[in-house]
Symmetry: C2
Subunit: 261 residues, 2 copies
Amino acid sequence: MDQQDSCIVRLFSNYCALSEKDKELLFALEQSPTEVRAGETLWKECDRASEFCTIRRGWAYSYRNLGDGSRQILEIYLPGDIIGMREFAFSQRLSGVTMIDDGVICYFPHRRLLDIFRSSTTLTAVLFAIASRHQVLLTERLVNLARRSAYQRLAHFLYEMYERLGQTDSLSDGHFRLPLSQEQLGDALGLSSVHISRTFSTFREEGLVLRERHRICLVDPLKLAAVAEFDSRYLNDSLRPLFSDIEFKERGGEVNEVRTE
Amino acid sequence: MDQQDSCIVRLFSNYCALSEKDKELLFALEQSPTEVRAGETLWKECDRASEFCTIRRGWAYSYRNLGDGSRQILEIYLPGDIIGMREFAFSQRLSGVTMIDDGVICYFPHRRLLDIFRSSTTLTAVLFAIASRHQVLLTERLVNLARRSAYQRLAHFLYEMYERLGQTDSLSDGHFRLPLSQEQLGDALGLSSVHISRTFSTFREEGLVLRERHRICLVDPLKLAAVAEFDSRYLNDSLRPLFSDIEFKERGGEVNEVRTE
DNA sequence: CGCAGTATTGAAAAATATCAAGAGGGGTGG
DNA sequence: CCACCCCTCTTGATATTTTTCAATACTGCG
């Protein structure tokens, strides 16, 4: 495999221009690829946590099971994502992860992250940026779940997937594959599967979104984003913010701090 | 001010033993203290983001306003917390922050964090651990909002505050001050203030929680934790996990990696 | 004393869940 | 190729939870 094919190198490159050394460091995270099958569980809640992984191919989701038998799907992971960072400070898994599709994942130990902290300020900063972005995504989802109607929640979810997928693949019109059952969508959005079905029916009647098995068509993406009150800043405003500064300093430059007191 | 009084040094010490040099680095973040008044807004959504701050005294909360006039309170910050990390990768604020009490906060520029990355692997790892812990808190809150009844949500919130406060102060029995109106509680829990009131009434009838203005008394904390399905791992399992490893390596030791393939 | 923000309570309305029955679809074994 | 079955989805009826609206009480404060 060429470094150019590395999802993780591509992901990091979104944030910052990388040196060759940085690329090699990153590339090392994607050794020991493992084939996994759709439905396979990478780990369960309460398992010992001492590794992360990157997802090179396929989709996955993380979840938490609740006492009453229901569960919450926390995140949908796409190729290039790093999984398991949540538990960096923990000895146990706090959420399970299972594959949606067949795929390939690459495990690496927590310790490898420390190597990165030690050897590259740039990568460290990018990791921090990624973590910060994750947190923003999570926050946005929290607002979505806490404040919006079922109709808006589903609209928001669909539009978010559309945007995320559009960042790597170019989506012809508003079409994309969404390999999630209505029950899984319900688990992700805090709604019953029945209500998901009804909400899709409403979308169809209004001609806003069409769904056929696992294919979604956003007839009018902008209108969908509007009804969801989708704030696209939280997905798009995270590219190369203050990293020009890093690169500058790394090259030995001096930055005079202008602090407005 | 002595370093021992520094909230942030104390916070970081929870995760890892710190060298003197590390303490000085951290201590430097708490310069330029600013007095702020209850109700004062530190920043609004969409403001330019180029600083973090630590909160040395007082409480604060972050929030997002929504199109329909409602708002979501995202986090409650206590002394020692770092505020604004969410926007590390962003140029704009994605949430506002306002003070609950009078207090003292210390601003420092994003760039100061890069200095830390550059000069201390230990602090970098701790920062990462803190970010990871934040994310876990957020996740737990997300589950709470998405999956639980009003009754459970409020129970969970109260118990979480109880635990967090208990980590710095020792709370006599289940008593603590909670300087939030029922409207603010509603904003935090995705409920109407009316329903918060009703839920407190239920608690009172059951003799589970008493509330008088801004004072809360958890009559039976353990029972409260049980009804909330509170998972205390997510608050307590984050102290000194793999950092013995860091210290070891920092001292020049060699760690042989045992990777189970 | 009066006023503004905050809390309580009741009644009605809205949103969503639950239960139940049936429809469609795709895979598997006969 | 067909029959069957399991799983997912759809739709209707009903139940539950929570919101909204409105009226009234409470509290601290100028």
